[in-house]
Subunit: 221 residues, 4 copies
DNA sequence: TATGAATGAGTCTTCATTCAT
DNA sequence: TATGAATGAAGACTCATTCAT
């Protein structure tokens, strides 16, 4: 998608011409779909090419190898939605509890629910075989994401709304179930036997509730 | 070859050794290693056999297929542990909060910390390509595991120690961070940029604390 | 290797040759040879490919599987002939006795005499191990073949030239010796002790004669 | 069977002792079944051994190789029922037509119908790969069998009951359908799609009828 | 003599990659 | 630049045969 956008901006040439220039973008699109769906090794380059409407040979004209294609796919799709969010959160006026709830729910709407979650699943699944990509993802996605959550928690602690938490740890605890949701959606969740065991919206609701108020009947004194 | 012969004589290792009792265990060991290291489809049965010190044919003497071998690995390393836990939990006498804490920590000691956690990572990564494995794992690991947690929660609710929870959802919320830990350890956790970001023991401690008592400074009234 | 290189230069045969049109035919030729020579299961796809001058992979470009290849061989060499026969028979103007004689003789010329007869031998030899092939053969060769014969007999009965026969049975009686000829040619006929015991043309002549007029000196009254 | 008989006659030792001696016979029995059922290459030596109640290793104690076993099986089972028949035919008093009918029907009862027909199927199927066996069979079974038929035909011709036939050819025409019946029974006849297409008894009846009196309504003048 | 665990060559099939056109 | 025919190195699994016991 990023590449396509760049190309579009570069020149507004008529369709036939652009077609040629757009090839890599179409291939990356198709590859993303297939890598998410089947994983790196089970995805077939024939199918990627076919879905992009070109021949297998053409694919190798743009990408040296399947691995090369994979890396390009992930790099292209690690987009930053974070700046937008940062703006939203700066302007947020409710309680920090509401802010947390809002953050997780909107994360689900914009990332978890969409195809973007497939990238996370993909990166985590193949991290062992592509360490550079894992590092890249860690830096470009996970750390900024964590920073966003950390800011919300810090706000709550500062205002006295939250207990005095170890922020670093707490961030992971918030983030873990979201990552779980994405993994689940693209793995067990896609299998018949366990398809609808986890309902994401309910899951997030309860997650926030428990995180905020705990399970014990007699609260901390 | 002359050298090889010399070595053979030095070790006096017979080419064919009959060790029927020991074989399956040795193969399962090697298989666990390789499955965790490379994933299900990338692990080669030849290599499993070689690492166990036998020929490819011998492997198929003990396991009908690669899938069968994998199932045996899962049973040996994960499923087998459930009965023990069940016993322990039956005999447990402390509070349900302590019980939950104990469950998660001992789960970490016996599974999460060990190579066995790699199995969970692998299953989630490749579930889509091997539906039969996904179903198997769902039935032999996830459902029994969930049942164990559900019993703890039910005990807490029954005794009035916990709030009246939607057990099914709560189970997922307990389990999700554990799955996250396993995924993390075998994906991002293995890359430099994030190696020690998540400390499992601390993570679990805080997870239990937050789950039990919540984050808000002013508890539910 | 030096020699090989020399030869290559001498011939100037390119390693990779693109001959999409010709490939299937060449493969079918080679496959027919090998299937007849070794039987279905003993014939090796590698050897078929090699004999056709292509790599193993190329064979699977044109035929989905060994079984698929075999079916194509059957269609090419046997099943394809039925429409032609049907045309010929439609246009046939002589007596039904002549028609029968012609059918059997031309069957011998076009199938029995050629390598194609080896296919029948092979199918009968291996039918039990490859039920799908047996069914295929039954449907694509035996039934159409029988239908052709049945039509000739029916014509003779209708015209009063033949006695009122049980057509279904009579068809088998006509067909049996033809199958015998094919079996014989590719089994006992290939061994010294019996090489020339059965002369097909004479055999067919006498077969038709006896079938038409019987052996007894005093005919039915 | 032949071997067993020999052994039984040789010594009437108690069961336990004889067991050991009987091994080869039991193996040949089991092997016959399996070779007939599946053919040479599809029959598994494990299964032969298992069916004979011994281990695979034991089989190779008695037979050098699978091929060796195969040859032994066929040799053992080419029994001669011919002398008996010869006696019967010498004493036969009816017409030659009746004699022919009787010969074919009793052949079906004693050979075609029984497991013995499996040997023929086996030998014809594997003749290409075992030429010595084909020769052996030709001499030991086919030629004597043909001689029997030839005598019947000669009797009919001599008595003026039959036309003046080329005996050599006529014999083949009589024998061909019988061989067809055996092949069919053990190949296509064993497949669901065509199980009962050919009814042997009816087939033989009609065969004899047509052979004797022909199909044409207006007989030879 | 009997066992059955162990072997390893051999089989079909797949698929990333190359290259003549 | 684009094609798609051709390649060949794997990979899972089988099975006749061997050999330590």
């Amino acid at each position: 998608m990023a590449i396509e956008t760049l190309i579009r901006h570069a020149d507004a040439t008529p369709k036939r011409e652009r077609r040629k220039e757009a090839r890599p973008g179409e291939l990356l699109e198709a590859a993303l779909d297939l890598f998410v769906e089947k994983g790196f090794s089970a995805a077939r380059v024939d199918e990627v090419a076919a879905r992009a409407g070109v021949s297998k040979g053409t694919l190798f004209l743009y990408f040296q190898s399947k691995e090369d294609l994979f890396k390009a796919v992930v790099r292209e799709n690690i987009a930053n939605q974070f700046p937008t969010w940062q703006e939203e959160f700066k302007a947020f006026e409710g309680s920090s509890a509401d802010m947390l709830r809002y953050a997780l729910m909107s994360w689900w709407e914009r990332i978890g629910k969409t195809r973007a979650s497939g990238i996370t699943k993909l990166v985590m699944s193949e991290a062992q075989n592509f360490p550079e990509i894992a590092t890249f993802y860690q830096e470009e996605v996970i750390q900024p994401g964590n920073a966003l959550i950390r800011r919300i928690l810090a706000r709550g602690v500062d205002s006295g709304e939250f207990r005095n938490l170890d922020l670093e740890q707490a961030v992971h605890i918030i983030v873990a179930p979201m990552i779980f949701l994405m993994m689940w959606k693209h793995s067990m969740g896609a299998c018949a036997a366990s398809a609808h065991i986890v309902n994401p919206e309910q899951f997030i609701h309860m997650q926030v509730d428990l995180l905020l108020h705990g399970m014990v009947a007699t609260p901390l004194t």
